[in-house]
């Protein structure tokens, strides 16, 4: 192994931090983040979402998302029994301040659908980028290199889920990073941290102890637009067929 003096100096404190976990017999808990050890996704449980907008506000606070733009947002569906394919959808200000009161309907149902970047394994947005400014990391998160992005908005058009936007002042593409700055430090995302009902769960598909594996086997879990074969990793529990 060839190490430069600079690399060695960086590695020494990192090793010292990890060493106590190695001695304790639990090297997996060491804070040294390994890209190859993770494959991140998100579980969104529609049966638990109350449409409070906490996730939208938290995302905005954590990631300095400009007003009127959303990295995550909540939609409220009204799907009537006599029209199963074209539901009535509202999302006032992305659901940031909640939703107007809904009255009980006899021939239909209301439900909330939190939306966000699906962090697709075969993402259309990364495939169309002409300069290599957006990419999927080895741990399964679709990110944007904003110093490299031209702002051509090709990716904004390519995303079938409408999860990207052009930042109004920086004029480059912007989107959910799955709170990459948090998950690499062992924290959960801002939206999961702030969801009061546990409707959103960060999942690590490479972690054999993650409860997602049991959940996927025992629940009716779907992804959005499976026919597009995007390899979406935003898993929805209780997803109605009318959701697009």
């Amino acid at each position: 192994m060839n190490l430069s003096r600079r690399q060695f100096l960086v590695l020494v404190p990192a090793t010292a931090v990890a060493w106590q976990y190695v001695l304790a017999g639990t090297p997996r808990d060491a804070p040294n983040y390994q890209l190859a050890d993770h494959w991140w996704g998100m579980l969104l449980d529609i049966t638990k979402c109350i449409g409070c907008g906490n996730c939208v506000r938290a995302c905005q606070a954590e990631n300095d998302v400009p007003d009127g733009y959303f990295r995550t947002w909540v939609e409220r569906y009204l799907r009537t029994d006599w029209n199963l394919t074209t539901p009535e959808v509202i999302s006032p200000d992305g659901g940031k301040e909640g939703f107007p009161t809904a009255e009980e309907v006899k021939d239909g149902m209301y439900f909330f659908v939190p939306k966000m970047c699906n962090h697709c394994a075969d993402s259309p947005c990364t495939q169309v980028c002409p300069v290599g400014a957006t990419f999927i990391t080895p741990d399964g998160v679709v990110l944007i290199d904003q110093t490299y992005c031209l702002g051509c908005a090709y990716c904004v058009q390519a995303c079938p889920y409408g999860c990207r936007y052009i930042h109004p002042t920086r004029h480059v593409a912007d989107k959910c990073t799955l709170c990459y700055h948090r998950i690499t430090k062992g924290l959960t995302t801002a939206c999961c941290e702030n969801c009061p009902t546990g409707a959103r769960q960060l999942v690590d598909l490479k972690n054999p102890n993650d409860p997602i594996h049991a959940f996927l086997k025992t629940h009716d879990v779907h992804v959005l637009k499976p026919e597009m074969a995007t390899g979406a990793k935003a898993f929805y529990n209780g997803l109605d067929g009318s959701v697009r």
Binding site: Y33, L35, T47, K48, C49, I50, G51, C52, G53, N54, A58, A61, E62, R76, G98, F99, T101, A102, E103, E104, V105, Y110, F111, F112, G132, A133, T134, F135, I136, T137, P138, L143, D145, T147, Y148, T177, Y180, H181, R182, T184, K185, L187, T188, A190, E193, N194, C195, P196, T197, G198
Partner: protein, 157 residues
């Protein structure tokens, strides 16, 4: 008159081609970032740059490190699954420097209703109230303690 050999034409072209290729490689060396292609067709250092952004929400475990009593109260009640910052807001600065950065005061009239206002769109098993009828104008805290909201006997708060 000097006779040119055919191969000299080819050599001239080969030289020109080599020069253009060399120029391209030199420009490419300076223009393409060092970490480009480290993991794929992108700048590898961008991963680390994204990961280095500052956090705003400290996380439940950071809160419970100091506020053990409140964490225990909350854990025993209906709000066990609600993390501190879901109501108190982003407080990573407070966690880093508890003395000088104080959390803002909260308004229960806004916070409780955000989740618990009755709506047919919410899951049926989620506790909901029509705020105006339910409290008769009283603030939520009069009866419910936010950290453990079930109504308890006098003084058990």
């Amino acid at each position: 008159m000097k006779n040119f050999r055919d191969s000299e034409h080819l050599l001239r072209f080969a030289f020109l081609f080599a020069m253009v290729l060399a120029l391209f490689l030199i420009v490419r060396h300076f223009v393409v970032p060092k970490s480009f292609g480290e993991y794929g067709h992108y700048r590898g250092a961008a991963i680390g740059e994204t990961a280095a952004r500052p956090i705003h929400f400290a996380g439940q475990s950071a809160c419970a490190t100091c506020h053990t009593d409140i964490a225990a109260t909350k854990q025993a009640g209906m709000h066990a699954g609600v993390h501190c910052e879901a109501c108190h807001g982003p407080l990573a600065k407070h966690a880093a420097d508890p003395a000088s950065v104080q959390p803002p005061k909260l308004d229960t009239a806004v916070l409780c209703v955000r989740c618990h206002a009755a709506s047919a769109a919410k899951p049926k098993n989620f506790p909901q109230v029509a705020a105006a009828e339910h409290s008769g104008g009283l603030v939520c805290e009069t009866c419910h303690h936010p950290h453990s909201p079930a109504i308890q006997s006098e003084g058990a708060k």
